[in-house]
Structures are given as structure tokens and as C-alpha cells.
């Protein structure tokens, strides 16, 4: 629960405001400012990186993070081209003249690079680490070839290596920038949501009002449309004419839906190469309740984490949550559950292998894609 500072008594416990540690009070006052400063920094960084994206020849408004496999293929192809250019250089230049152009130790290092570029996939088995590694490698190679004084070696093989090194560095930088932009957009939402969560304890109570579930879902989708676009995840929701309503705090409910949708986007994997990953939202009424389901296909949540309720613990991130370097705070689900319960509802989580025949004791059980559904069940209102 976020701290509820200005009230005499916290509704869920007997702790009064006066008894709260004064440092917690300070934190409550200052945290909004700190988070705001962080948000500003993220926005500033995003704008700067958009400039880099444009400099690299993309349109910052439409550029999206490429599919990781496609990006890896592209970088590998460029690495092979650079390796070939370097091998050609060594075949066509005279060793004695090379020795005059750069120290022997530098050539020794350069001589190893083609094989290293060709072996990158075996040597760096984690794809996310390959792009920065290739960026540094291409940059260092280019730096050394730039140091070759004019006239010491035939110009064409040197230029060829430089062209290929710069192409590889450029592609790796582009990928790096797009990944960082994606992380910024993701964290910007997370910070915003955290600020909302914290400030929900000090905002004045607003009387519950009738809100259309359709509007809540639409607002959550709108909030995350840029993140979804940048992550190349499609949001699928069909019930645009769903007219049932719930009674509650609109702001809190939008934040809760957004948190869950944010997770669904973040933890989606691509199902096949032909189409983008998608998140499915289903809204329906059942037994005087509204059900809002957010379903994604990708990162599993382990069974015991659901059964013990661990995934709802404040600050807890699932064991699989850092898959492919995904960032997070472990607060979104805690908050969503609290909001659902404060509205007389529940939040349910289910995560199971999308393929049949898998057994939990299989060593690679959690290495496969899971279908994860987070469902809000809220009382209907007239």
C-alpha cells in the first residue's frame, strides 16, 4: 500500500500519521520530485537519441526496434563483410610496408580480428551482447586503419576496410540507440506509474463513479501505444462496443489496467517470423462481474510464484522477468491487485506452456513460451 500521509488514520491499519517515521514522511514529500527529475532526464535522453536516429538516416517518429533475430543476422552479415575486407587487405598489402605504417603489435591484433568476427556467434552466445561487442570491435579496427598515414599503403584496401568497419559500427550503434530508446519509453511509463502509485496515497478521495470498462481499456491502450509500437507488439482487442460499467476510481483503474498491459507487452515473444507479437485483451461480463483479460505469449511466470502469491509482493520481479534484459520495478502487479481488491474485485494470474505435453519436471520447462493471462474481475454496476 502506498503511504497515506495526510489522514489521521490509515484505513487498513491502526498506524496513525504521527507514528510514521519522519524520514518516511520526508521521502513521501520528496519522492515525487525525484521521480519527476528522473522522468525529465529520460525525456531529455529520448530527444537526444532521436537526433542520433535521424543522423543515422531513420525517421525518429517511425523507427522501431527491429526483430532481434533479423538485427542479429544483419550485423553478422556486416561482420563477415568486414572480415573479408580485412583478409583481402592482408593478402594484397606488403608486410614490410605494413610494418612501416603501424607497430607490429597493432598488426598482430588486426590479424586476429577476421577470425574473431567470424566466430562472434560462438564466442558471444548471448545475442544482446553481440551488437555492443561488434560496435567496439568495428570502432577499434577503424581507429587503427585511420592511423595509417597516407601514401604508406595502397589506398583502396585501406578504404575498403574503413568502409566496412564504419558500416558495421553504424548498424550496431543504430540498434543500440533503438534498444535504449525502447528501454527509455518502457521506464518512462514505469516511473510515471510509480509516481501515480505513490501519490494515490496522498490524493484526496474521489467519490466512486460509474465508468465504462471500454473507456478504461481504451485509455490504457492509448497510454501504451508508443511503447507497443516501439516494441513492435500489436494490441488486439475486439469488444469496442462493450458497454458494461464498473463503479470506482477511474484514474486508479486506468493505472491498474495499464500496468498489466505494460507487462503483457514487455514479456511478449514473437510467435513466428511472419507477424509481429501481439497481446490480446478480452472484455466480457459473467455472473454480475466484468472480466478484463490481458493475454500474452512469451516469458513464463513460474508456477510456485503464482501459487505462493510471490509475484504480487511489492518489488518482487519474477525469476524469468529479466529475460533478454527486460527492465522493471516489481510494483505493477502489486498495485494492480490492490486496485482490483479496493474495487471489490480480484486479480487472477495464470501462466502455462503454450505447447501441450510439457511436464513441469522437464529441465527446460520454463525455456518454452508460456501463455500468460492476467484477469481483472470487477463487480458490474448498472
Amino acid at each position: 500500500m502506498p503511504p497515506r500521509a495526510p489522514r489521521e488514520q490509515n484505513s487498513s491499519s491502526s498506524v496513525t500519521t504521527a507514528e510514521i517515521d519522519p524520514r518516511a514522511q520526508e521521502l513521501l514529500t520528496d519522492i515525487g520530485r525525484v521521480l519527476h527529475a528522473n522522468t525529465n532526464l529520460l525525456i531529455m535522453t529520448e530527444h537526444s537519441l532521436n537526433g542520433v536516429v535521424e543522423l543515422l538516416g531513420d525517421n525518429a517518429k517511425t523507427a522501431t526496434l527491429p526483430d532481434p533475430d533479423d538485427a542479429d543476422e544483419q550485423l553478422y552479415a556486416l561482420a563477415l563483410r568486414l572480415a573479408a575486407a580485412m583478409e583481402h587487405f592482408f593478402q594484397t598489402t606488403d608486410p614490410e610496408r605494413r610494418a612501416e605504417a603501424l607497430p607490429a603489435a597493432e598488426w598482430e591484433l588486426m590479424n586476429e580480428q577476421p577470425a574473431r568476427l567470424r566466430e562472434i556467434r560462438d564466442a558471444i552466445p548471448i545475442p544482446e551482447m553481440r551488437a555492443p561487442t561488434l560496435r567496439v570491435t568495428a570502432h577499434e579496427i577503424a581507429a587503427r586503419y585511420h592511423n595509417i598515414a597516407p601514401g604508406q599503403l595502397a589506398r583502396e584496401p585501406v578504404r575498403h576496410v574503413l568502409t566496412e568497419a564504419e558500416a558495421l559500427e553504424r548498424a550496431a550503434v543504430r540498434l543500440d540507440v533503438l534498444k535504449t530508446l525502447n528501454a527509455i519509453i518502457q521506464m518512462e511509463y514505469t516511473l510515471r506509474s510509480l509516481r501515480e502509485y505513490i501519490s494515490s496515497g496522498v490524493r484526496q478521495d474521489t467519490p466512486p463513479k460509474r465508468v465504462l470498462v471500454r473507456e478504461l481499456v481504451e485509455r490504457a491502450i492509448r497510454q501504451l501505444s508508443e511503447y507497443a509500437r516501439n516494441s513492435r507488439v500489436e494490441i488486439r482487442w475486439r469488444e469496442h462496443d462493450f458497454e458494461d460499467a464498473v463503479l470506482g476510481d477511474e484514474r486508479e483503474l486506468v493505472r491498474a489496467f495499464s500496468n498489466v498491459l505494460h507487462n503483457a507487452i514487455k514479456y511478449s515473444w514473437r510467435r513466428d517470423r511472419a507477424q509481429a507479437p501481439w497481446v490480446r485483451i478480452v472484455t466480457r461480463a459473467e455472473n454480475s462481474h466484468v472480466l478484463v483479460e490481458f493475454e500474452n505469449w512469451g516469458v513464463p511466470i513460474e508456477r510456485d510464484e503464482i501459487e505462493t502469491g510471490q509475484i504480487f509482493h511489492f518489488g518482487y520481479r519474477g525469476r524469468r522477468a529479466t529475460d533478454r534484459g527486460r527492465l522493471g520495478t516489481g510494483i505493477g502487479l502489486t498495485d494492480a491487485k490492490r486496485v482490483a481488491e479496493a474495487h471489490g474485485g480480484v486479480l487472477r494470474v495464470d501462466s502455462h506452456p503454450s505447447l501441450g505435453g510439457m511436464r513441469p519436471d522437464d529441465p527446460d520447462y520454463y525455456e518454452h513460451p508460456f501463455l500468460t493471462t492476467v484477469t481483472f474481475e470487477l463487480p458490474l454496476t448498472d
Binding site: R116, I126, E128, P132, T133, L134, V136, T322
Partner: protein, 164 residues
């Protein structure tokens, strides 16, 4: 044969991914990465490493022992500090509970701690583990920080362990 390096770090794919480039380009090391404690244990039980660089906020992986320890410590990487437990096991201080003996080749002098925690938070515990080299992760470091740490450990330059 190239010196074999183990980096135990769960952020190597994301914010720290650029630290590997200089190591790979140098071509001097056989570089290995473990992203959780279970995998790190598997590594040290099957290979010998000249240098190990270990984060303190680590996820447990799949081994029940580490999972339980993680749960006991609040299921939070920051609180759990499984990296300290892992080092403790490695240097032979805490063998009994785990029921597995750490390899005899491990030397605390060849272990470096690379963590976001400040020296005032974890320095005493690191010293108790006889680990001499500690570097705090901060935004101002260059992308050669990991390479420099590895080289200092290999060359036996035991930093004062006072925060940088």
C-alpha cells in the same frame, strides 16, 4: 592458453552489455558469463577460472538451495545479496548448508566484486570474505571498466577496496 574469466552478472544483456566489447576485442581472455548463481556454480564446478568478477544482487536460478536462500532473504535481489552467499561458498566459509564443496582452486585474491552497492553498505562483508578488489558500478565509468578490473585481478593489483 588464454586466462579464463567468469563474470557473474544478471544485467550483462542490458545496461552492462557494452562492457564485453573491449574484452572481446583484446582477444586476451576466454570470457564466460553466468547470469544467476545456479549457473555460476555449474561453471566453477566444471571449469577453472583465473579471475571471477561477481555482482552482489543476483537471481538464484533453478537450484533449490539458492531459491530457498533467496526466499528466506525476502525474494529481493537487493536484500538477498546472493552474490555474497555465493562468494562465501566459493571461499569455503559457508560449505555446510549447501552440501557441496567449492573447488579447491578458488583464491579470494582472484575474485572481484562489481556491484551497485557502496563500500559503506557492503565493505565489511567483502573484507570478511577476504576479497580484495571491489568496484562500484556508477554511470561515469568507461566501457573498459570490466577489462581494467580483470587485468588488475590478474596482475595482483589488490585495490584498497575503498569504493572505486
Amino acid at each position: 592458453m588464454k586466462p579464463r574469466i567468469l563474470w557473474v552478472e544478471d544485467s550483462a544483456r542490458s545496461e552492462l552489455s557494452s562492457l564485453v566489447g573491449p574484452i572481446y576485442f583484446s582477444g586476451k581472455y576466454d570470457f564466460n558469463l553466468a547470469e544467476d548463481v545456479t549457473r555460476a556454480v555449474r561453471f566453477v564446478e566444471t571449469k577453472q577460472f583465473e579471475v571471477m568478477v561477481i555482482d552482489l544482487r543476483l537471481p538464484p536460478g533453478s537450484d533449490d538451495y539458492w531459491v530457498n536462500l533467496y526466499k528466506q532473504n525476502g525474494s529481493n535481489r537487493a536484500q538477498a545479496h546472493l552474490g555474497l552467499n555465493f562468494i562465501s561458498w566459493l571461499v569455503g566459509i559457508d560449505n555446510k548448508a549447501y552440501g557441496r564443496v567449492a573447488p579447491a582452486w578458488v583464491e579470494p585474491e582472484r575474485i572481484g566484486v562489481f556491484t551497485v552497492e557502496s563500500w559503506s553498505e557492503v565493505g565489511e562483508q567483502i573484507q570478511n570474505l577476504r576479497v580484495k578488489k571491489y568496484v562500484q558500478k556508477t554511470a561515469g565509468h568507461s566501457d573498459t571498466i570490466l577489462l581494467e578490473l580483470i587485468e588488475e585481478l590478474l596482475n595482483g593489483h589488490n585495490g584498497a577496496g575503498n569504493g572505486t
